[in-house]
């Protein structure tokens, strides 16, 4: 394995030879590879309505391709006419560099599937690159929108994404390794890192894990990272996913390893620590004091979203002593009409909010807004008037729902929203004791997690106070001279600016 990896680093590009052994084993009749015939290829695409097979020159020239994968205009206008012109001899034409002579059936089939056109002329096959993939253009990120800074987001096309990254990291040290995942889907996965910064052990680990995946198909990077997680049973993501090229570029420069997958607009980076999920690229584009303030706000939001409803439940069902005198009367008054114990009341409202969120996410934007209004005003008001909930609970539930959306990473905020339910049940059963137990469980669980082998709670455990100024605060750039210790970068200093 070590030997193999070494060769990868040397070649670095086009890493596909590895997969071949696999594919050969899969092929049902390996003998048929011996001779390349037209019939053979046509047989392979049996029952494929979108497959185009055209014949010219009394069936001496055959053209084979998938119409929607190639640029048909270019094919018909530029490439076919000289071939069809019977005056010109074909031989010199096929010597041109755009024609690639092939003898291997397997390669022919794969290339056609990739979007090349195959010319079959008198038992000789030539491939022509007229790939014209269908993809959307680079658009603004919708899930991770920011106010100041670049608005580009990744698309489903890996090459587009690579170009977006290359544009931001213009260095020959940026290495890209191509891997293939999925027995059927054969999706391309690219592992990116910066040589001399990233720790080679982590690079090897990520590559090894991706290679070890044995699955029929992987459709998205979010699915891929779940196959290579350290702890698949945890509710916390162990890879940071983003669709912002600028975030990915900063992860690369800080010494992390990045993966992108063809067909997925999401890139992932590792090793990640828990607190990275709470930082947004916005923090770095605004002035440092504002960035720090919004970081604090987000950690406060985390606390609110996790504990507020649970605290309401535990206080109203166990710890009446904790409530200030002025509040207790309003609280009792609004609770006095409610027929349920606080735990059912809270679970009911939390579930309603989750229903609203889920419905809003599934519906088109225009209807989604209506859902928000219906849910927020109608249900909120009516539930209180009908005596199903107290209005203080509505405030608690709504503010913890809002706080959950303050967390910039959707995956992480979803994890905490789920965990909130567990805490509410704990608080309803055992009061503050249960709440404390639940929070202690989170802390214990988090400290046991790893991301590609690196500690998940990194600047806290192991204790690295230097990193705190980039994790819990966002100090001026002159103070952030070193790369995070978690990535064990080979080159630790990133800033040589003298101030």
């Amino acid at each position: 394995m070590k030997q193999k990896l070494k060769s990868i680093f040397l070649v670095s590009h086009e890493y596909s030879e590895e997969g071949q052994t696999h594919e050969n084993q899969q092929d049902p009749n390996p003998q048929e590879d011996d001779r390349l015939t037209l019939q053979h290829i046509i047989d392979q695409f049996d029952h494929a309505a979108d497959f185009v097979h055209k014949t010219y020159h009394n069936e001496r020239l055959h053209v084979l391709y998938f119409s929607h994968l190639v640029n048909e205009d270019r094919l018909e206008r530029d490439l076919l006419p000289p071939l069809l012109n019977s005056d010109t001899p074909l031989e010199p034409l096929t010597q041109q560099s755009q024609y690639e002579h092939v003898t291997d059936t397997k390669k022919c089939v794969e290339s056609i599937l990739d979007g090349m056109a195959l010319f079959f002329y008198e038992d000789k096959a030539y491939l022509i690159d007229v790939i014209f993939p269908i993809s959307r253009t680079v658009a603004e990120s919708e899930t991770e929108s920011i106010i100041i800074g670049p608005h580009e987001a990744f698309t489903e096309q890996a090459y587009t994404n690579l170009s977006l990254i290359r544009k931001r990291v213009q260095s020959s040290h940026l290495k890209v390794i191509k891997l293939s995942v999925g027995e059927v889907s054969k999706s391309d996965v690219y592992v990116l890192y910066i040589q001399d910064i990233a720790n080679e052990n982590y690079v090897k680990e990520v590559i090894k894990r991706i290679e070890d995946i044995e699955i029929d198909a992987i459709h998205d990077a979010n699915m891929l990272i779940q196959c290579i997680d350290d702890d698949p049973y945890s509710i916390f993501a162990q890879f940071l996913t983003t669709e912002r090229p600028d975030t990915i570029a900063s992860k690369l420069v800080s010494g992390r390893i990045v993966g992108i997958m063809d067909g997925s607009p999401t890139a992932f980076s590792a090793p990640v620590n828990f607190f990275e999920f709470f930082s947004s690229s916005d923090d770095y584009y605004q002035r440092w004091s504002i960035g720090t303030a919004s970081l604090f706000l987000r950690f406060a939001a985390l606390l609110i979203t996790v504990t507020l409803t649970a605290l309401y439940v535990s206080v109203t069902s166990f710890h009446y002593e904790m409530i200030p005198e002025n509040l207790i009367l309003t609280l009792t008054e609004s609770r006095s009409k409610v027929p349920f114990p606080p735990i059912f009341e809270a679970l009911l409202m939390e579930t309603t909010i989750e229903l609203l969120r889920e419905a809003g996410a599934r519906l088109p934007t225009k209807i989604g807004q209506t859902i928000g209004i219906v849910g927020g005003i109608v249900i909120g008001q009516a539930a209180v008037q009908a005596g199903l909930t107290s209005n203080i609970l509505i405030i608690a539930v709504a503010s913890s729902a809002i706080a959950s959306f303050v967390i910039p990473n959707y995956v992480m905020s979803a994890s905490f929203r789920l965990f909130r339910f567990a805490l509410i049940v704990m608080a309803g059963l055992w009061g503050n004791m249960g709440l404390a137990l639940g929070l202690a469980y989170i802390v214990i669980h988090l400290s046991g997690l790893t991301s590609v082998g690196a500690s998940y709670l990194s600047p806290i455990a192991p204790f690295e106070p230097y990193d705190w100024k980039d994790v819990f605060m966002r100090l001026p750039f002159s103070a952030l001279a070193k790369r995070p210790t978690q990535v064990k970068a080979r080159n630790k200093v990133k800033l040589k600016m003298k101030r």
């Binding site: 166990f318 009446y320 409530i323 207790i328």
Partner: protein
């Protein structure tokens, strides 16, 4: 193996918590906000509690329960038969003792307050001139719920130093500490209209002995500890014969206690108090913008307060109480061995205590 250990650990964690099944759901509770203790002429105790009502279906703002019993917990049981709510004392804010009970000693009744873990040590303690139950049962139309009215009154008055803020913690500390006796604010009901604070109750151990009149309360505050904020009205007529009145406010007072040792134990205790404030109202002949006359006025005020202070100490000596905590200073000075040998209550009467006030007028208003 590891799995088994984890399961066992989880079980160990969960098992003790199953004991905490005593849910107290908010709307089913009657939180006692204020309680009062009175001694009836026949020696029985009369208790009353005030519970704020939050249920919108009743028009009353609070519920008052009254019981006659031998102990407060017994009274609780009698009271709970009268109400549909579970009586809890975790929201208790004020405890009122009728003066008749205070004279007989509070300790037995305070014991339940100290001992009950759900009762906060920040509960305020006060003595009621007259019957505490009557004061609590009455509704004062122009004021919020009686319990809250008392609480706000005590809170606000303590800010201006006219009464000391005495919580259960303060009272218990002074009660158990050696060389200091507890105090408590006195409140009084005036008809059906209002309640006022009415001086400071001085205790000997747990028995009410005497009181300090409300107009002298600030002098007690000067001697008791340092403070900021507060105002005092001073009538200097008796000192120089002419009509002269000063309203001295925005006070900042600092204090030093000096214990001088003589041949046989303590020779003398001196209070050095520095008071700074501004004159808000002045009726008299002195021109305050004249530095010399102002200094003379300062002198007169110092003299006046010193006299009040001496009188207060004389009062305490007479009743053999030490609510200022002079004993603690003496104890710290002479060492615990010698302190133990002393009978402080008698010793206090022999030791001269001197009050030296140094008043400074910081500011004297817009008219110069």
């Amino acid at each position: 193996m590891l799995k088994k250990c984890t399961c066992l650990l989880l079980l160990l964690c969960i098992l003790p918590i199953f004991g905490c099944g005593d849910q107290r759901i908010l709307e089913d509770l009657g939180f006692i906000q204020t309680t009062s203790y009175d001694m009836l002429p026949n020696g029985e105790l009369s208790f009353s509690v005030s519970i704020p009502q939050a249920d919108p279906e009743t028009s009353a703002k609070r519920e008052v329960l009254i019981a006659t019993a031998k102990s407060s917990k017994e009274a609780r049981m009698i009271m709970s038969r009268q109400t549909g709510m579970l009586l809890v004392s975790g929201q208790l804010r004020n405890v009122l003792f009728g003066i008749s009970l205070a004279e007989n000693g509070l300790h037995g009744h305070l014991d339940t307050l100290f001992r009950d873990p759900s009762i906060s040590s920040q509960v305020k303690i006060s003595v009621v001139e007259g019957s505490a139950g009557e004061l609590l049962i009455d509704d004062y139309k122009q004021h919020p719920r009686t319990g809250r009215y008392i609480d706000m009154l005590l809170e606000k008055e303590a800010l201006g130093q006219t009464i000391p803020k005495v919580t259960l913690f303060n009272f218990a500390r002074d009660f158990f500490d050696q060389g200091v006796d507890p105090v408590a604010p006195i409140i009084k009901k005036h008809g059906n209209n209002y309640i006022t604070t009415n001086g400071i109750a001085l205790f000997r151990d747990d028995r009410y002995v005497t009181k300090i009149e409300p107009q002298d309360a600030l002098v007690f505050a000067f001697l008791k500890s340092k403070f900021r904020e507060g105002q005092i009205s001073i009538d200097l007529t008796e000192i120089n014969g002419k009509k002269e009145n000063v309203m001295f406010s925005s006070l900042i007072s600092t204090r030093k206690v000096k214990v001088t040792r003589g041949v046989q134990g303590v020779e003398k205790v001196t209070y050095h108090v520095k008071v700074t404030g501004s004159v808000l109202e002045y009726i008299g002949d002195a021109r305050l913008n004249n530095a010399r006359e102002r200094r003379e006025l300062e002198q007169r005020i110092s003299q006046y307060i010193s006299k009040k202070g001496d009188a207060m100490i004389a009062l305490m000596k007479k009743h053999q109480v030490d609510n200022l905590g002079i004993g603690t200073y003496v104890r710290n000075r002479v060492g615990y061995e010698q302190w133990k040998k002393m009978n402080w209550r008698q010793e206090l009467q022999k030791i001269p205590v001197e009050c030296l006030f140094d008043v400074h007028i910081k500011d004297y208003g817009k008219f110069r």
